[in-house]
């Protein structure tokens, strides 16, 4: 009986977390142009409409373009920064790391308006460029905080050994250090990409007129009701991510098992 209560508790929390997602999935099959609470019959036409609506396609394109460029730039700048930070004196390192933490702990809206004001102050007109710059700024800490611990674990000895054996600094970095810190680099990249795709507040404040990402497009429709094709697109994205994650979990699980088998023999 006590155990049933516990399972019920865990179940209710996860029901709470997944109920809106279920709702959105159902709504993307609802035969009504915008989201309402009323069921008007089953249709698949919103999935077709995704490809016919220019505003949605453009927002999707912008979202992915911004996320891709921002996370790639943040990863490159971030990894380079980590190598540099490693070489710093303890005191400078501390200051830099504290500054790195600011965007992480600061309220999003404060980061957003602070960037907006800076653009205004220097007369930079808002557009794709300002969104990109802002996204790179808030992605960088995720790269640094994931790569730096890995770099610390690696230490300088492997790098120095490679140098002693005649490798150029660039070669030593790419063939000795980088493979070692790769898990941190890829986590940092993926987190940056995710954060950028999911971002609303910072994009909302730093975008120019007429530029939409999926988040800002959704927000602009919240009063009148979201177009059902937008729900359909989100359902597709969600299921796609679910599929990727499941495959990854399954593959990693199998690799893990084969490795233990090998280790056992």
């Amino acid at each position: 009986m006590k155990k049933a209560g516990k399972i019920l508790y865990v179940g209710l929390i996860f029901l709470f977390l997944y109920l809106p997602i279920l709702t959105l999935v159902v709504l993307s099959f609802n035969d009504s142009e915008r989201t309402t609470g009323v069921w008007r019959g089953f249709t698949l036409r919103w999935f077709e409409e995704i490809f016919q609506r220019e505003d949605i396609l453009e927002a999707l394109f912008n979202t992915l373009l911004i996320a891709l460029i921002a996370s790639v730039v943040a990863t490159i700048v971030g990894v380079a920064a980590c190598v540099g930070i490693q070489a710093m004196t303890t005191r400078t390192k501390k200051v830099v790391l504290q500054l790195t933490n600011i965007p992480m702990v600061n309220a999003e809206i404060v980061t957003a308006i602070s960037l907006l004001l800076t653009f205004a102050m220097f007369g930079i007109s808002l557009g794709l460029g300002t969104i990109l710059f802002s996204h790179i700024c808030f992605c960088l800490p995720y790269v640094i905080l994931n790569v730096l611990p890995k770099l610390r674990q690696t230490g300088v000895s492997a790098y120095e050994a490679a140098r002693d054996l005649g490798a150029t600094p660039v070669k030593a970095f790419f063939s000795v250090v980088l493979p070692d810190i790769m898990p941190g680099v890829s986590t940092g990249f993926l987190m940056s990409f995710t954060m950028s795709v999911d971002d609303f507040v910072i994009t909302y404040f730093t975008r120019g007129a007429g530029i939409n990402t999926l988040s800002t497009l959704i927000y602009s429709q919240q009063k009148v009701g979201i177009r059902s094709s937008l729900c359909a697109l989100s359902t597709v994205i969600f299921l796609l991510v679910l599929l990727i994650l499941l495959v990854r979990m399954f593959v990693i699980d199998r690799i893990g098992r084969t490795q233990t088998v090998k280790g056992g023999s």
Binding site: K6, L24, V77, A80, F133, F238
Partner: protein, 272 residues
Amino acid sequence: MSKNKLLSGPYLLFILCGTVIPLLAILYYALVDKNGSFTLRNIASVAEPVHLKALGLSLLLAFICTVICLLLAFPLGLLLRKSGGKNKGFVIFMLILPMWMNFLLRTIAWKVLLQKTGVINSILAALGISNGINIINTPYAVVLGMVYDFLPFMILPIYNVMIKIDNSLVEAAYDLGASSFKVMKDVLLPLSMPGIISGITMTFVPAMTTFAISQILGGGNIYLIGNIIELEFLHGGSRNVGSGLSMVMMVFILISMALLNKFDKNGEGTVI
């Protein structure tokens, strides 16, 4: 090796232009008027009834949201801890997965669910409860939205810390005759403190500063400090007043965090 330092150059430039100068920009705009001369009026504008009410409501709702999240997440952490570390990957997967649906859409889904003629009330009506719940466009709906959006950020750090607690400590406490309540209060709670503290931070700050959740679930009637700042910046208000209010908001966040840290130290004290 010292040449390597140069590699952090581009990043330092990003910190300078993307963090340091922007924060100074808020400070500057908060302290000048439209014509650029010094004034304290922007900061003092927090005393206007509308602003004061919004700030108070933000603090209150964020506090309630944080408490509810904590009350939901702590027992969940205890239960999941008992199920052992073998499910860890799956649990974290289940907690992170919802974040792959846009958070605005998930919040809007609650609007659909909570409508007077919405799904929840239809189910309640079918069960014979005719009154239903009418919380849409009230602060209750906003709190529900906040709890929904930020609960994973409370659960994850608590769960991460709890799963690392050595079970032999718990067993030792039981062996020494502690009741299960005492084990929770004197062993599990203090050891979970780091997770609880980061959970509170990750819940309170976004809840206190949100404007989207209150806009969507408050139906435009509920003004949190975030909504006021948004109005000042994007809908024809004054950037200077917006900056002044942001400064005040940051001060309140810093005070809250300082109080929290003090509490944290007390917590650590009891461990020793």
